[in-house]
Symmetry: C2
Subunit: 354 residues, 2 copies
């Protein structure tokens, strides 16, 4: 049976260009931190990727440093913020665990002080779009409310290839290559404006301008740069996905009288639909959908193997039981009407009864 | 001019098998933490690599977690050790900056307490072999001196593909793929015995058994596993390098009356030779060697662009001036007599006079 990948938000398949970029780089040798000819050549390649990624993120190359991915980037932000003292910090209930958990630990340790409004905050950490529902954060509203001196940090993992860049007032952005057509194992953090005050808390080698110790994952970063250079095309593809996503959603809600969209309103990423199948056993549902050859999301992938219901879905008003039977469909950029019709066929054939 | 890579210790060129492994994996899709079919397939691939790397490191798969490289692994060890309280810690002056700097910061903050003998220590962090000179640490002696309850941690980056695995009494080992034929951007930490007491200090997703948050760099890990599966052959190749290394060293010391080997005695990795060219200007030397098409090391690659002389060379008795004019030759596993003769020709033709 042909597998249908409707789980783009967990990990996007690498683009053809990123695959090609990787293949051309397999024989590269040398450490970009070495001063000799092989090292300098690697450094040029690294800096080309830095320009490409910076441009796609809506910034400039000198403001970018590379990480192993957004989990590291989000943790870096929290650790760097802690070194500035007990910052009053505003965050949302829709953050990815890689941001939510370090923030929670810092609140519990009294290293950062949680506040309830962007207007009170020295530091604001908010995702650009919620990975589980596609709900888009109103960053314009946050910017309007924020104090001019506050540090504004956006996790752009899910919005990167799907929405235009955020306004320049956003001081820091955290991205991951494998959510926008590159490969898992690389990501970037952009720091500008007020975020230049963040102090690196991690020591080791002096790579990435002293901000992130560790030899760079150059070949992944190269592929990340190539994917970034085609980000406009990916954004166009994603805009077009809304039609397919709506078709899928409508068909499922029409068939499943016990199902509803989560959240019921609000702007969403064009590729994402979360549907709660009230009264259906979450584990059984997961197995049925998987057996039908469909890959979908249940909570964040990074905690998909864990039994706890999604805290962010609960914050949207769902009960733990409802969170467990909430399915996320997230379309890949190259999804076709034929695939969506196939998915509808397979899904509506499942015998589900609450 | 053909470039000769005599800087294997900074970053080994990827093996042919690792390159092939990478090419076969470029189209893999899915997140190994997802529970669906694509995710499970990725997880199988991850676990195969885990078995291969564990075996090469002299351990078992359940004791391994993957990182972005040894810099991260070394920092993980220090952060995890800090959470056990003020451990009495023994380390050497030959550690890589990725271990030395986090340890120094922990000593300065009073989070770990520095002691001068392995016999007094709760925690011992020692490299298996010094990256700048190839000097091999006497781990048997450390084991003999160590308290049975102490946690023994070895950075095996430079020894991994060059020496047999360390004894099982070594509780933790930190490795990096790009120092043994894989690609930069992945590494592994092995925890067993007393190291099972180390508590993860980093939060985020629950990847790698909750030890290391972040989606795994699967394709790099796959290539790491393939390189690890051929580690015996690489160790054989490295043993054979001693002959070439000795030939190079002898020719240079015979030609350069002002030069001497560092250190003057002690067991070394078979591929590494460090030579101090007393009285020669370090920066000029670097440029001359580079212009001759030779890639060699000056200090750790991660700090090669920094102006400070190597602290570990100074600990071996060199003056800062001597450290600056110390050249590290480190041969790649496939080095040939022809290349070494070419290198000797180019090096002895340089006009050097103190």
């Amino acid at each position: 049976m042909h597998i249908l990948n409707l789980d783009a938000n967990a990990s996007l398949p690498p683009t053809k260009s990123a695959q090609k970029a990787l293949i051309e780089s397999t024989s590269w040798e040398g450490n970009p931190s070495s001063s000799h000819s092989l090292g300098r050549k690697q450094r040029e390649r690294l800096d080309l990727a830095r320009m490409r990624v910076a441009k796609a993120m809506g910034g400039i190359d000198k403001d970018i440093f590379f990480t192993s991915g957004a989990s590291e980037g989000n943790r870096w932000i929290v650790d760097a913020a802690k070194s500035l003292g007990k910052l009053k910090t505003y965050t949302t209930s829709l953050e990815h665990p890689s941001s939510a958990k370090p923030l929670k630990a810092a609140f519990e340790a009294g290293e950062l002080i949680k506040v309830d409004s962007p207007a009170e905050a020295d530091l604001i950490c908010a995702t650009a779009a919620h990975n589980e529902t596609g709900l888009i954060t109103d960053w314009d509203e946050i910017i309007n409310l924020a104090n001019p001196n506050s540090i504004l940090v956006a996790d752009i993992c899910q919005s990167f290839g799907r929405l235009p860049p955020l306004p320049a007032r956003v001081d820091a952005m955290v991205s991951s290559a494998h959510k926008m057509g590159g490969f898992p194992g690389s990501g970037a953090v952009l720091l500008r404006g007020n975020a230049k005050r963040l102090k690196p808390a991690w020591t080791g080698g002096s790579q990435e301008g002293g901000l992130r110790p560790g030899t760079e994952a150059l070949i992944l970063i190269h592929a990340f740069g190539v994917a970034a250079s085609e980000i406009d095309a990916m954004r166009e593809q994603n805009i077009a996905l809304a039609l397919l996503r709506d078709k899928l959603e409508e068909a499922l809600l029409n068939t499943w009288s016990f199902a509803r969209r989560v959240p019921e309103s609000g702007d969403r990423l064009p590729n994402t639909s979360a549907i709660t199948l009230t009264g259906i056993d979450g584990d059984a549902l997961r197995i049925m959908i998987d057996s039908a050859g469909l890959c979908v999301g249940f909570g964040s992938a990074c905690s998909a193997l864990a039994p706890e219901p999604s805290l962010s879905l609960i914050s949207l008003g769902l009960t733990p039981q409802e969170a467990r039977c909430t399915v996320r469909f997230s379309l890949c950029p190259d999804a076709t009407m034929e695939q969506i019709e196939d998915a509808i066929e397979r899904l509506t054939s499942l015998s589900l009864s609450p």
